[in-house]
Structures are given as structure tokens and as C-alpha cells.
């Protein structure tokens, strides 16, 4: 049990308590925002686990999650556009949390691995995660043109 595995475990527990709470108890919008946070937490946990178990190929799984997580949320945003329009969720706290956790995790992993293509891949995953979250949050809150969302 090294520091990476401990950090991944703490992140999973600390991240999934609000996710389960939001999905199980909240209104529809908060549930969608919470599941979006869930995919980000899983992605970061996989990154930490790949370093903890010394298995660089696990980063590929995190890369796929970083792409498909926000895309899945965009599908929800499209399908639930009418319901979300009435009661748009507050996603700012979730997005800020993801950014505040992603940046130190990716920087720490890059420092641990040293410069090279692996570090570039980690930065790519981090950027995808942050940008994907910002776009997904904006779509959930109706930040994009309403005509585009509901057409």
C-alpha cells in the first residue's frame, strides 16, 4: 500500500459520498451533475491507481473515461433538456472541485513519472477532464444557446 493507492482510496471515498448523495436524493438536475462528477472521480482514481500499481497501460482506461464521461453527460443534457430548463442544476461547485483536484493530481503524477511522452499523455487526460467538465456543466445549466439544445 503506497501513497498513490492511499490517495486513490481517499479520493474514491471522498468523491463518491457527494455523488451517491446527489444521485440518490436530489432533483433531476443535481443527479445528472453528480453522475458527471462521478466519472471525473473515477478517471482521477484510475490515474492514481495506475501509478500506484506501476501499470502505465491503465492510463488508457482513464483517457477513455475522460472522453466518454463528459460525452455521456452531454447526451443526458440533450435528452433531459426540457426538464433541466425548468430547474437548471448548480454545477459550479462540482466543476471547481474537479479542477482543484485534477490539477494537483496530474502535476504530481507528471513529477513522479518525469518528462516524456507519458507526461504529455497525463497532461492530455487532465486537459480533457477539465475542458470536458466545463463544457458538460455549461450544457447542463443551459449556457449554450437554448435553440441549439432543444432543437
Amino acid at each position: 500500500m503506497n501513497v498513490w493507492l492511499v490517495t486513490a482510496s481517499v479520493l474514491l471515498v471522498a468523491g463518491f459520498v457527494p455523488v451517491v448523495w446527489g444521485v440518490a436524493t436530489g432533483p433531476l438536475g443535481r443527479g445528472v451533475a453528480a453522475q458527471n462528477l462521478g466519472t471525473s472521480v473515477v478517471c482521477l482514481a484510475i490515474l492514481l491507481l495506475s501509478q500506484g500499481y506501476d501499470r502505465p497501460s491503465y492510463v488508457d482506461v482513464a483517457l477513455v473515461v475522460a472522453v466518454l464521461g463528459p460525452v455521456g453527460t452531454l447526451v443526458y443534457a440533450r435528452l433531459l433538456a426540457d426538464e433541466l430548463q425548468d430547474d437548471p442544476p448548480h454545477t459550479r461547485l462540482f466543476t471547481v472541485s474537479v479542477v482543484c483536484v485534477t490539477v494537483p493530481v496530474v502535476v504530481a503524477l507528471c513529477l513522479a513519472g518525469g518528462p516524456g511522452r507519458a507526461a504529455a499523455k497525463l497532461v492530455l487526460v487532465g486537459v480533457l477532464l477539465v475542458v470536458g467538465n466545463v463544457i458538460a456543466s455549461r450544457a447542463l445549466t443551459g449556457g449554450f444557446s437554448r435553440s441549439e439544445v432543444t432543437r
Binding site: 502505465p56 497501460s57 488508457d60 483517457l63 511522452r117 504529455a120 499523455k121 492530455l124
Partner: protein
């Protein structure tokens, strides 16, 4: 006018091809000649699709 448009198209294709090839090289685990060749071919196909998709979206 047509020549200028063709030049723009080819320039856009080359930019896509270069960017996607770099992305491929970053994401693969071992770099050897076969991987680079496969990446270049896949990136070219993806570049053609990207140019076509962008033109379709912008309605030109």
C-alpha cells in the same frame, strides 16, 4: 478563386494530419517504424474525415 479554395483545403488537411499524427505518437506506448506508418495512415484518414465534417458543420 477555386485555386485559393483548394489551397486552403489542402492546408487545413495538412494541419489536421500533423496534429493527429502527433496525438497518435503521444498516445502509443512504443515508437517504431511500423507504428509511425500505421499512425500516419490513420491520421490521414481521420484528417480527411475532420475536414469533411468541419465543412459539413459550417455549411460550405
Amino acid at each position: 478563386m477555386t485555386g485559393k479554395r483548394t489551397a486552403t483545403l489542402i492546408a487545413e488537411l495538412l494541419v489536421w494530419w500533423f496534429s493527429l499524427s502527433v496525438l497518435w505518437l503521444v498516445l502509443i506506448s512504443t515508437v517504431d517504424a511500423l507504428e509511425v506508418l500505421a499512425g500516419a495512415v490513420c491520421a490521414l484518414l481521420a484528417a480527411v474525415l475532420a475536414v469533411a465534417a468541419r465543412r459539413a458543420v459550417t455549411g460550405r
